[in-house]
C-alpha cells in the first residue's frame, strides 16, 4: 500500500479527539495479576505430597549422605535425580491425566499456570540444594561451588530428560519413563565414580563445569519446548 493512500485514509477516518479519555483512564484500570501473586496462587495448586515428598526426600538424602563420610557429596549427588523426578511428575500432571484442555478453559492459561508451578517447585528444590551444598561441602571437605555443581548437574539432567519423555509419552507411561530416566542418571552417577569422567575429582574441574553448562542448556531448551507446546495446544 502506498504512503499517499495510507495518509489519505488516515485523514478520511480521522475522528474528533475524545473528550473524557484522560479522566476515564485515570479512574479505571484493569486489575492485572502480578508475577508474585500468580506464583503464590499456582503454588497452592501444587499437591501437598510434592512439597512434603521433596522435603522428606531431601532429608533422606542428607541423612544417607552424612553417614557416608567422606563421600557425602557424591552420595547426595547420586540421589538428586529422585528430587528432579518429583518435580517432573508435578509439571506433567495435567498432561498425564489428560486435563490440558480443561486447564486451557480456565481463567489462567495453561502456559502461565505451568510456568508458575514449574517456578514454585523449582525454587523450592534450588533452595534445598542451595542449603545442602555448604553442609555437604563441610562434611566432605570439598568447596561449596564444587558441591553445588555436583548436586545440580544430575538434577538438571534428569529434569531435561524427564520433560522430553513426558512430552513424548502420555499417561502413566510417561511417568514410568521419567522414573527409569532418573534411575539411569543415578546409575551413571555411580558408574562415573570409577571412571575418568568423575565429576567430583578436584582435577576434573573443567569437565565438571562443562557438564553443568550442558545440563543447564539442556534443561532450558526442554523448558522452552514444553512451554511452547502449550501454546500450540492453545492455538489448535
Amino acid at each position: 500500500m502506498d504512503k499517499k493512500l495510507k495518509t489519505a485514509l488516515r485523514t478520511a477516518f480521522a475522528a474528533p479527539p475524545p473528550e473524557r479519555k484522560t479522566a476515564f483512564l485515570r479512574v479505571h484500570r484493569r486489575r492485572e495479576l502480578g508475577s508474585m501473586e500468580m506464583l503464590l496462587t499456582q503454588a497452592g495448586y501444587v499437591r501437598r505430597w510434592t512439597w512434603a515428598g521433596s522435603v522428606a526426600l531431601f532429608a533422606a538424602i542428607l541423612v544417607l549422605a552424612a553417614g557416608r563420610e567422606p563421600e557425602t557429596v557424591w552420595t547426595a549427588s547420586a540421589l538428586t535425580p529422585l528430587l528432579a523426578l518429583i518435580a517432573v511428575a508435578e509439571w506433567g500432571r495435567s498432561r498425564r491425566w489428560g486435563m490440558e484442555e480443561l486447564e486451557l478453559a480456565c481463567r489462567m492459561p495453561l502456559r502461565a499456570a505451568l510456568l508458575a508451578r514449574m517456578a514454585a517447585v523449582g525454587l523450592l528444590h534450588f533452595a534445598l540444594l542451595g542449603l545442602a551444598a555448604p553442609v555437604l561441602a563441610l562434611c566432605d571437605g570439598a568447596g561449596v561451588l564444587r558441591a553445588g555443581a555436583c548436586l545440580l548437574t544430575p538434577y538438571l539432567l534428569t529434569a531435561a530428560v524427564g520433560m522430553e519423555l513426558s512430552r513424548r509419552m502420555r499417561g502413566q507411561e510417561g511417568l514410568l519413563a521419567c522414573a527409569a530416566a532418573a534411575a539411569l542418571v543415578c546409575a551413571v552417577g555411580i558408574w562415573t565414580r570409577e571412571t575418568a569422567f568423575d565429576l567430583f575429582r578436584t582435577e576434573s574441574a573443567s569437565f565438571r563445569w562443562a557438564a553443568l553448562a550442558l545440563a543447564l542448556a539442556a534443561s532450558a531448551f526442554e523448558l522452552v519446548k514444553t512451554v511452547k507446546e502449550t501454546e500450540e495446544l492453545q492455538w489448535n
Partner: protein, 146 residues
C-alpha cells in the same frame, strides 16, 4: 500481551465513531467497552485482548446503532497532513463501500489491527482477508484515478 490502553482507547473510539457517527455516543460505547473488559471475570489472559475489545465494541455499537442518531459526520474533521483533495475524494469513495468493507479498511489500515485478530473477528482465513482487502484497495484506486 502488553497492551497500551491509551492507544487502544483511541482506536476503539475511532472504530465506534465511524460505526455510530456521533462522538458522544462513540465515547460512551468506548468507555462501556473498557469497563466491561476491566470488570470481566470471563475474559481469560490468553493474549486475545484486542479481539475481546473489538467484539464487545461491535456488539455495543450494533445495540446503540438501533437508536436514532443526532449527529452527522462533520466535514472538517482533524487529520494528518496530506492531499486535501485526495482525502475529500477518498471520503466520498469510502461512503460508497459497504459498511463491512469500510470497517475492514478502518481496522486494518487506520487502526492497524493485526491480521490474526481480524481473521478471528471476521471468521475468515488470512488468505481470504488479504484478497478482500486487495480488492477494496484496487477498487478505491481505480475510482480515484478514473
Amino acid at each position: 500481551m502488553a497492551l497500551d490502553i491509551e492507544e487502544q482507547y483511541d482506536r476503539i473510539y475511532r472504530y465506534c465513531f465511524f460505526r455510530l457517527r456521533d462522538r458522544h455516543r462513540a465515547e460512551d460505547v468506548t468507555q462501556e467497552t473498557f469497563l466491561r473488559w476491566f470488570a470481566s471475570e470471563t475474559y481469560r489472559d490468553t493474549g486475545q485482548t484486542l479481539q475481546y475489545l473489538y467484539t464487545v465494541a461491535r456488539n455495543l455499537c450494533a445495540d446503540e446503532g438501533r437508536r436514532p442518531s443526532a449527529e452527522l459526520l462533520p466535514e472538517d474533521l482533524p487529520g494528518e497532513p496530506g492531499d486535501p483533495a485526495l482525502s475529500v475524494a477518498l471520503r466520498s469513495e469510502l461512503d460508497r463501500l459497504s459498511p463491512e468493507d469500510r470497517e475492514l479498511v478502518l481496522m486494518r489500515y487506520v487502526n492497524e489491527t493485526p491480521m490474526g485478530v481480524l481473521c478471528k473477528l471476521y471468521g475468515a482465513s488470512r488468505f481470504a482477508l488479504y484478497r478482500r482487502l486487495r480488492g477494496i484497495l484496487t477498487r478505491l484506486r481505480e475510482r480515484l484515478e478514473g
